[in-house]
């Protein structure tokens, strides 16, 4: 079997294993879904009027503003679960068994990453459905925009997942993995997800503007609502590719040096 065929076959076996875990133990995934949904309802129904007037509209306008941000936050929340399950997995004897087998080395990690990206897509779909149910409508998005939006979400999920896998690998246990990955949920709070950048203090604006979430959020808004994307599109893609490469090389080097 060629190396590529071996890689694909072993990775898909590992993916099946991870999906089996996720299906057998859905509670972690569901718990992680609660955070973005709670925040969505809280900001729309409790703070909605105040937040709406802040962006020069009302609650309805604010629903449009906040949903793209929360969709990306959902990804941040889902990959915390990835960090936890990778960390759990590494404490299992089965990983040592995999290392003594003539299989493609990276397939264990690739299985985790693809499984986690699929989970992210599902979670984003659920949160998106809640958004639509409470009144979110995309204005003027055609097939191309929807495809681009989907592509962006997958790319962003891939980037964050590789980082989360690295975090899971360096964490000695599940609690540590969960703590180490917490910034991935907190980062959206410091982005343009909830309030526009120009409403933040001047000294903080550059940080909020150039962190990975803001360009992705602004690009998604542009695609779904027709707002100005500008340089955010390229910035978002650059962040995704950069984080993916970084996370991938970090994770694989950690995984390969793991044997002590």
């Amino acid at each position: 079997m060629s190396t590529l065929a071996l890689t694909v076959r072993d990775s898909s076996t590992m993916l099946r294993r991870n999906l089996l875990h996720a299906r057998r133990y859905p509670s972690l995934t569901l718990n992680l879904l609660l955070t973005p949904i709670m925040l969505l309802l809280l900001f729309v129904y409790i703070f909605g009027d105040a937040m709406g007037s802040g962006i020069g509209g009302g609650r309805t306008e604010y629903i449009g503003y906040i949903v793209p941000g929360l969709l990306l936050m959902t990804i941040g929340s889902t990959v915390v679960g990835t960090a936890v399950s990778v960390s759990n997995d590494m404490t299992e004897g089965i990983i040592a068994r995999f290392r003594t087998m003539a299989i493609h080395r990276g397939s264990v990690l690739v299985g985790h990453v693809i499984g986690s990206v699929l989970q992210s897509v599902m979670s984003v779909t659920v949160v998106g459905a809640v958004g639509v149910a409470i009144g979110f409508r995309s204005s003027g998005a055609g097939v191309l925009e929807w495809l681009a939006a989907f592509g962006l979400l997958v790319l962003f999920a891939t980037a964050l997942t590789w980082i989360a896998v690295g975090m899971g690998l360096v964490s000695p246990n599940a609690e540590a993995a969960s703590n180490n990955a917490t910034p991935l949920i907190l980062l959206p709070l410091l982005s343009s997800a909830f309030v526009p950048i120009h409403a933040m203090p001047g000294w903080f604006q550059p940080i909020a503007e150039y962190q990975p979430f803001t360009p992705a959020i602004e690009t998604l808004r542009g695609l779904l609502l027709g707002s100005e994307i500008g340089h955010n599109g390229w910035l978002a893609v650059a962040w995704c590719v950069g984080l993916s490469v970084l996370g991938y090389s970090w994770s694989t080097s950690k995984f390969n040096s793991e044997s002590k």
């Binding site: 076959r9 089996l20 057998r24 004897g93 040592a96 290392r99 087998m101 793991e258 044997s259």
Partner: protein, 337 residues
């Protein structure tokens, strides 16, 4: 084609300042059971980890060939010919026993049908068919160990590493495991077994190497190792003090125990030595009430070789057991990770 399944020269491994393996040579002919015997912390698990490609050998290590493949240059070929069952169970606890087996079948690139058949056969052979649909996390220690070994056998490995396969098992599960290990060799596999149980090595292994402080203290068959150690004797016990005393006169080389009315005559336990003792008793017209032949067992060998005189006392004198154990280096047990 080489007839050696494992040929390792001068294995070295250190973690920081701590030398774990200090020049270990291992050769295991195909189709045999080789046992690496040693106390906790002797380096057994490290040796298995190196031979099974989990850990890289330390500097100074010579050529290592497993199944004819070079460990350093061709680790994937080595992996393709081995199976490993570690000291801590290497099963996926979140999924069922059957799913674990099918996972292995997929990773060995069997077709769906082959995979199902192999999984079903092995589950039946290891008496796990009834538990096949239950999560592995609910299995008992013995069941988990059987599932672990069943998973190792999916790829039909020609060389099987078993790192303390019976540690923590109850006597019945242990005997089951021994039976399974014997069958593996009947089927043509080579088994490399580590254990801290002398009886296990004695029962199973064609050759035994005693590992202590990272070096091979002795190597040979169980019989050869036992012959290294003096201590075999014939013991005669009497109820009649007069018979006891006259036997002591007839057998000059005997040492007596006046309280127990027992005599000990040094002997290797051979038929000729035994007959000479009986002849001398006959010609003196003495009959002993009880005769036992004591040959040194592996315990004697083990304690003599691992150089721990106190430990020998510990076996006979329970009161000293605590002290004796304190002299054994209290090293943390390495785990296969």
């Amino acid at each position: 084609m080489s007839s050696l399944a494992i040929a390792a020269n001068n294995l070295h491994k250190s973690y920081g300042d701590k030398v774990v393996l200090d020049g270990v040579d291992l050769t295991v002919p195909e189709g045999t059971i080789f046992s690496l015997l040693g106390p906790n912390g002797a380096g057994k698990t490290t040796a298995v980890k190196i031979l099974s490609t989990l850990t890289s050998p330390g500097t100074g290590t010579g050529a290592v060939r497993i199944g004819g493949h070079d460990l350093a240059t061709d680790p994937q070929k080595v992996r393709a010919s081995i199976g490993v069952t570690g000291q801590f169970s290497a099963v996926d606890n979140l999924i069922t026993g059957e799913e674990n087996m099918l996972l292995m079948a997929d990773l060995h690139h069997l077709t769906k049908r082959e995979g199902r058949r192999t999984a079903a056969n092995l589950l039946a052979r290891f008496d796990l068919t009834d538990a096949a649909k239950k999560p592995a996390s609910t299995y008992s220690g013995g069941m988990k160990r059987r599932l672990d070994l069943a998973m190792t056998l999916v790829g039909n490995p020609s060389i099987i590493f078993l790192d303390e396969p019976t540690t923590g098992l109850d006597p019945r599960s242990r005997h089951n495991m021994w039976q399974i290990i014997r069958e593996l060799v009947t089927d043509g596999a080579t088994v490399f077994l580590t254990t801290q149980y002398l009886e296990e090595a004695d029962q199973l292994a064609d050759r035994i190497a005693v590992l202590n402080h990272g070096r091979i203290a002795a190597e040979g068959t169980a019989g050869e190792l036992k012959r290294l150690i003096p201590g075999g004797h014939i013991r005669l016990r009497f109820t009649d003090p007069i018979a006891y005393r006259s036997a002591g006169l007839a057998l000059r080389d005997a040492t007596g125990d006046d309280d127990a009315l027992a005599l000990q005559i040094p002997s290797g336990g051979s038929q000729r030595e035994l007959r000479s003792v009986l002849d001398r008793l006959d010609s003196a017209g003495i009959e002993a009430d009880e005769l036992t032949v004591h040959t040194p067992d592996l315990d004697d060998v083990f304690f003599a070789l691992t150089g721990d005189a106190h430990a020998t006392d510990a076996r006979t004198t329970n009161a000293h057991a605590t002290n004796a154990h304190a002299t054994v280096p209290a090293q943390a047990k390495e785990a296969v990770r």
